[in-house]
Amino acid sequence: MEITTTTENGAVFAAVSGRVDGSNAKQFEDGLMAGVGEDSQALVLDLAELSYISSAGLRAILLTAKNLGKRNSKFLICSLNPAVAEIFSISGFDRIITIMKTRDEARASLS
């Protein structure tokens, strides 16, 4: 699992590649929060290159969303591939967390 972060107009875009499961979910969560500064207005999680996510990975996303909510920062997910989109849909995460089809849509929703 690898996280690459970039910042655009106060929003952090974190692109995640590989697999997120119980073996690295804590590292994933810590990596996301480390990329978000105190003054960041939003975190956009780009999951285009995420090949697999388990329950532990979903929990890490939920914890990140909750932590950002406490800071009044926005949290968006974008670019889900079909396999990952299926688990988000079945588990209902797509009803709790805002999901955009593309990074451009996510970017537009922040402006």
Binding site: D21, G22, S23, A25, K26, Y52, I53, S54, S55, A56, L58, R59, L62, L63, A65, K66, G69, E86, I87, I90, S91, G92, F93, R95, I96, I97
Partner: protein, 216 residues
């Protein structure tokens, strides 16, 4: 902090007389198994996806409610799904529930009372003597049900377990329950082990329905 199984026991016990709420035994057994599996997942010992449940770390947690189930999963070579493990662990539900109740008694939350009926039949009951933790669990549940915010993962878990045992009718008024149903349905989907419990209950109920049709 209480384990999820201890929290579930507090939710299904009548505070005054210490009797269990009328929950189908299979539902309570599956929820018992699910509570242990959920706590093992929170301890990062096991993980799940839509197809399977697997070991992440076989090291004991140091918790007598959880470690025997971790050993059981670790001894099993195959990659089975969540429903398989709900059913398998539910075979030990009676021992797990007894242990959870004994732990609550030893912490001074419940007391153990043997009630006799007609001088012959005896039933063990667990009236509450310190209701602070139980009230805390109920408040957490209410907070999540009547707030649209991002829920805590443990709150999602206890809501899935409470739903499986059908105890919301005891916790909420009819009007509150009606308002909370969409949120309960939304949250109970979010935990894959919780979904496995519901699936195992549905399977049993379908079998019962089929066998009753066969008797007609």
């Amino acid at each position: 902090m209480l384990s999820l199984l201890e929290e579930l026991m507090l939710l299904i016990l009548d505070d005054e007389d210490g009797s269990f709420a009328p929950v189908p035994e299979y539902s309570l057994d599956f929820a018992t198994a699910g509570a242990v599996l959920m706590d093992l997942a929170f301890e990062n010992r096991i993980d799940t996806d839509l197809d399977k449940l697997f070991i992440v770390n076989p090291a004991p947690v140091g918790n007598s409610l959880l470690d025997p189930t971790l050993v059981l999963i670790n001894q099993h070579a195959g990659e089975e799904g969540i429903k398989f493990w709900i059913r398998k662990v539910s075979a030990n539900a009676s021992e797990l529930k007894d242990l959870a109740l004994k732990r609550l008694v030893s912490r001074g939350i419940l007391k153990e009372v043997d009630k006799r009926f007609f001088w012959l039949l005896q039933e063990r009951r667990y009236p509450v003597i310190d209701d602070r933790l139980e009230r805390e669990v109920k408040l957490r549940i209410m907070g999540v049900l009547f707030d649209d915010g991002i829920p805590d993962v443990r709150d999602i878990a206890i809501i899935s377990l409470a739903y499986a045992c059908g105890v919301f009718g005891n916790l909420l008024s009819a009007r509150e329950l009606k308002n909370a149903v969409p949120r309960i349905q939304q949250l109970r989907r979010m935990d894959l082990i919780g979904r496995g419990i519901s699936g195992a209950i549905r399977d049993i109920e379908a079998t019962i329905t089929l066998s009753m049709r066969g008797m007609m």
